[in-house]
């Protein structure tokens, strides 16, 4: 047992490990939505660990993109993570990484699917709405091709680094 923040971090790490284990399986055995779902949960839990570490009752933090600039866009963060980027290059890479991770976060049902009409990682959707033409996430081929399951390993390794260096983050 630990603090609320520590336990959210433990859950984030555990979910990230499941992401890793599912990601390595062929996409025709395990659909892309499943590892992506665990990555999405790991990101959310990491953000909550950060929120509860610093919570003064005012932070509204559900996603990486909402992470306060004083944490990630901070030279001390760059130093804590150990990347050798110059500050300007770090900011540019951070923008890219956030865009990739935001793409995953936007596939949360509450964000993506207010009208049952948008792809998300958990529930079938009908597109166009009321068309009767439904698709399950596990049958949505675009998830199998998502960059986060391959080409964007910079973003996923960044998430893992954030969790590893959590205690050193500003």
């Amino acid at each position: 047992m630990g603090t609320r923040s520590e336990e959210f971090l433990a859950q984030a790490r555990s979910d990230f490990e499941v992401f890793r284990r599912l990601a390595v399986l062929p996409r025709d055995e395990i659909a892309g939505c499943h590892p992506m779902h665990y990555l999405q949960m790991a990101i959310e839990e990491f953000c909550k660990a950060l929120k509860y570490r610093d919570d003064d009752g005012t932070i509204h933090l559900h996603s990486m993109v909402d992470t306060p600039n004083n944490v990630l866009r901070n030279k001390d963060c760059l130093k804590a993570l150990g990347y050798g980027w110059k500050w300007k290059a770090y900011c540019a890479r951070l923008t890219h990484i956030m865009a990739v991770l935001r793409g995953v976060e936007c596939l949360h049902p509450s964000v993506a699917q207010p009208t049952d009409a948008a792809p998300n990682l958990e529930y079938p959707w009908a597109l166009p709405p009321s068309s009767g033409d439904w698709t399950a996430p596990s049958r949505h081929a675009a998830f199998d091709r998502d960059p986060v399951l391959g080409p964007s390993c910079l973003a996923t390794s960044f998430v893992e680094r954030l969790m590893d260096r959590f205690c050193q983050l500003p």
């Binding site: 990601a23 996409r27 993570l81």
Partner: protein, 108 residues
Amino acid sequence: MPNYKRTVRKLARWHSTEHAAKDLVIYSYDDPEEKVIRLLEVSRVFPGEQNEDVWSMDFGASPEVPFQSRVALASRKQWRAISRGDLTLPKGWEGAAPREVYHGGNTQ
């Protein structure tokens, strides 16, 4: 039948676009059986001390990359330690020689 070396080049190209570090070098540890793509990406911007293990992020075969792929990021310090034999590669990478497939803007 997907072409192994062409897919290695494709993946290296994607990753070099993403990182855009001027000093990025990507090595392929080719699998003689052409079942697994293993890329080691080296740049001074990646974190990692010379005694810090290099780990890989592994991905299953997909429509875009029809081979299992493993990608590891290493700092220059780690790369020098690997070259000296002081640091081991991720498990399963042993026995293959590195083949440079990307060097600072050029896909080989």
